[in-house]
């Protein structure tokens, strides 16, 4: 018996592309999303007229999920390192206010966008330094940042709404609210970020190091992985996505208040977790963040279209989170 051919046979049995996919949580979430679409297309009718399965509703879903999904991409990178970022909703609010304030003060669109992005990056830098270099718990640091950013948004905005965006107003609104080849810009950004993170996770040392840190941080340190710098970069990336999402959503809505992004952190974390990111670290994919945020939005939208009282939305999303995590646990136990 040829040894190498035997091991090759075992290898292809256990590591074929199909096998890998079927074992992954995003695969099952994708199935769930397709089934849900099918069910909703049957039930989502008003007076016999299809309301769910329409181009208008689908572009509506795409818009709604993309703002959450953009941040879920950043959140996934953080969760892979066994971290968490609770501050993304507030960072988004503060970044949105910074952009709104800068534009309404008469600065151009570049300055407005830079103000939002840099504000978000500054928050991420503080989070990252406290967590990776000082060694504080991610939960506590980002909980503090959640409170600080929301409060700063109130202070800076003085509880005013910004809706006049200065000399480049049209350009700014078209960035957030416009389309490319019929696809909403925010969705384009979401897809680009998904591909970017997917590439980084699979093909770069940075990606391997994220998984290594989430899997066994002391092992990563001992083998010479630059643990602190990599963790810092994950929090910076997460805040960056919150900043990008803020700029896009303010442009799309045409106004910004200091309540922007309130409780978004919960929907973002829910999306990442449903998409297969493991809060214990070491597991998570870019595609998972995408499909997770689609599924959360489908549940919300479907319930609305089916005429269910919106108060029930949280219950269904919550049940789905628990179901997704339980499913993951059962499957990993069976595979040993």
């Amino acid at each position: 018996m040829n040894d190498t051919s035997l091991s090759k046979a075992i290898d292809s049995q256990t590591h074929s592309f199909g096998q890998e996919i079927i074992r992954s949580q995003p695969f099952w979430v994708t199935i769930a999303a397709i089934v849900l679409c099918f069910v909703l297309s049957l039930t989502g009718t008003t007076n016999g007229e299809q309301v769910f399965f329409t181009p208008e509703n689908f572009s509506n879903i795409a818009l709604n999920f993309s703002f959450i999904g953009i941040i879920a991409i950043g959140m996934t990178a953080v969760i892979i390192t066994a971290g968490i970022d609770l501050s993304v909703g507030s960072v988004m609010g503060l970044a949105g206010i910074a952009t709104g304030l800068t534009l309404s003060s008469g600065y151009g669109v570049e300055a407005g966008i830079a103000a939002g992005i840099l504000t978000a990056l500054a928050c991420g830098l503080v989070n990252g330094i406290l967590i990776s270099y000082i060694g504080l718990s991610p939960f506590v640091v980002t909980l503090g940042m959640l409170s600080i950013c929301r409060s700063l948004a109130l202070v800076v905005s003085n509880n005013k709404m910004f809706y006049e965006f200065g000399p480049d107003e049209d350009l700014f609104l078209s960035i957030g609210g416009g389309t490319h080849l019929g696809v909403a810009n925010s969705l384009v950004v979401m897809l680009v970020l998904t591909i970017f993170l997917g590439f980084m996770l699979n093909f770069t040392a940075w990606g391997r190091h994220l998984y290594a840190i989430g899997s066994n941080e002391s092992a990563a340190t001992m083998t010479g992985v630059p643990v602190k710098a990599v963790k810092l970069s994950a929090y910076l990336f997460c805040s960056l996505t919150a900043g990008i999402s803020a700029v896009m959503i303010v442009g799309w809505m045409g106004s910004v208040t200091n309540a922007l992004g309130m409780t978004y952190e919960l929907r973002v974390i829910a999306s990442a977790v449903i998409g297969g990111a493991d809060l214990m670290g070491g597991v998570g994919t870019a595609y998972g963040a995408l499909i997770g945020s689609i599924l959360v939005e489908l549940i919300r939208n479907g319930l609305l279209m089916a005429g269910v009282d919106p108060y029930w939305q949280g219950t269904f999303v919550g049940l789905f989170i628990i179901f997704a995590v339980a499913l993951e646990k059962i499957r990993s136990r069976r595979s040993g």
Partner: protein
Amino acid sequence: MSSSSQENQSKPVFLDLRNISKSFGAIEALKGINMQLFAGEVVGLMGDNGAGKSTLIKILSGNYQPTSGEMYFEGHPQQFNRPVDARTHGIEVVYQDLALCDHLTAAHNVFLGREKKRNIGPLKILDNKHMFARAGEIFAMLKSETRPRDKVKQMSGGQRQAVAIARTQLSSPQLVLMDEPTAAISVRQVSEVLGLIKRLQSEGVGVLLISHRMPDIFAVCDRVVVLRRGEKVADKHISQTSQDEVTGLITGAVERA
């Protein structure tokens, strides 16, 4: 100089420790250790808890600096300030907890922190193909059935050891320090790990093996060094001693040998 060292004089001295001491405040963990390691030799380091084994390993791996004494590396005085220094001089460590990441494949664990990359334009991307192939070669050399694409999560204790040992083989080291590699695995896997050590030896790699298990030491080592309360109390060729004598040396029933 002990008789065993004279016997080994045909081999070049790889590492020469001269009067190495290490104190932590008032506690003297090591007291004037003199010891030579020859190229390609497997040496067992034994001693009770607190005898100074781990301290000695940490000095050799660059984690600690000795309080006094000198280290000669291939005849030249050398100081290891960081673990990287030891690594660049051909000394690799297999830590007791193995330092593996469960969610990564065997190959990615082997290359962790030293990933092989290739350039695509301005981008540096992982050369997974090379890493899987090279890890496979090392496992084949170690005669281990570990498969490079398997995740470490699913592996047995012996296979996990193989991954940790394979990691040391990336840079063709001269000396591998192993801290209790057989402490936490089943009896059948112990022989697998001892087999790995023998493979290293046949490749000309020296091993310094810390173990509590007397049979393991006598199965693979050329020489045994016994520490007691920070002092070297024996340094003998394995054929010139017995398990009883070493046990006596460890406990203090035999003063010196």
